[in-house]
């Protein structure tokens, strides 16, 4: 049995959802694992990020986002609008805001996973809800050393949080033999 762990570090743009097409990196990690049959789990440890499976859309808008990403953003914007101000959503409430401020004072090794005192960065409720809807991981099947995602399937990591630029981790575990 082989269990092979790796991770990618991906930088978010800080003003809109940040999509990263990571198919080649996942293929490389599968190859380095020497797993011939098994699974590869792609996962985020951050609650405002998701992993999903989609086609590559070729065309890009002004910002460099693929058209299918723009379409997904528009669908989600209609049901989970971008947070513009406090009280638009219930979260963050006063206790959570205090928690975020306190933790930022005492913990300096955040690795991008803990909130910072910038109050604007707490206005990411939409990113939390979108992360719950899209899910925090995806599991793919490996056969004969090949990840089974077809010829036009791609793996994406997305940071829904539009409030700040930072490095995010994408975890990849290959499990099999």
């Amino acid at each position: 049995m082989i269990i092979h762990n790796d991770k990618l570090v991906l930088t978010s743009n800080g003003n809109r959802p940040s999509y990263h097409e990571i198919t080649d990196e996942v293929r490389r990690i599968v190859k380095e694992s020497h797993v011939k049959n098994g699974i590869v789990v792609v996962s985020t440890p951050h609650t405002t990020c998701s992993v999903f499976f989609e086609e590559y859309s070729h065309d890009r808008n002004y910002n460099g986002d693929e058209y299918l990403q723009v379409d997904l953003d528009n669908v989600l914007e209609a049901i989970v609008p971008t947070t513009k101000s406090d009280r638009q959503y219930y979260h963050p409430g006063p206790e959570h805001t205090k928690f975020a401020e306190d933790i930022s004072k005492t913990d300096t090794a955040t690795e991008g996973t803990i909130m910072v005192p910038n109050r604007h960065s707490l206005l990411n409720t939409d990113a939390h809800i979108r992360g719950s809807l899209l899910g925090s991981s995806e599991t793919f099947i490996i056969q004969n050393g090949i990840i089974q995602i077809g010829k036009v399937g791609y793996v994406y990591f997305v940071d829904w949080d539009h409030t700040r630029s930072r490095n995010r981790q994408c975890l990849v575990e290959v499990l099999g033999e």
Copy 2:
């Protein structure tokens, strides 16, 4: 190879979605498994429940629900409204209603998974659709005995069914070495 199975039994409130924050229990089961590297799958055998990954929101409303849960409920209510009466959704139809009534007469060992004759309990179509949208399981990566969910990541089990209080099962399997 270690495969370690356990389960949690969680009681639903019977009048709104029931959220259970189960992070400590999942950590305990991972520890008891002695798996150092691998995965932990958290899964529901019930079609009106989901497992998802989210931040802990600290503030709670009148009912005791965390603010992010209230926000998620509001988003879902807008797209999958709570069932108030028959014919609001196609489901349940007459055949399904008859099935539910028949099975409740013949099967006494339901373990909370099979419908009861109370007709109101069949008005849970929204819970079924929400369960499909959020998904029935989540897979987390374990490295060095630690579930990789960051410092502010939490695991939630939710019963979307608002029609009755009952015990629900949350299955946890740890797989690795």
Copy 3:
């Protein structure tokens, strides 16, 4: 350790989402694997398909779709409307359209995974977005040789693409011991 791979081939109807209830087939594959404890991953290699867990709804509409499927279709139609024409969504753009036309000329062994020159078949953006929302795989727990989906839980494979009839693959991997 046992890793057992199999696949199902499912034919899409070509005019609306195609749902396939595959619970018995998944149970058969689990049995044939001889895995007593572990997981079964059900996955699509196609980006316009999903795997999900739901109750069997008994009643069916005019088209033969189960009522819960009709309800799910209606919920999704409201947030991700069926594509009727180009420019309804950003995707497909001119580069993607050219890619689809080029690949269809050079690749004859598509196995149903690559686009064909019929321009109508590119109007499936809704299917891509729905696939992202519902997810490309589901992982179920196996204990004592039994897939843990309760007495009324069923596994569904759905092709969201309404533009053409074709064969789709559903991959099933059983992993455990």
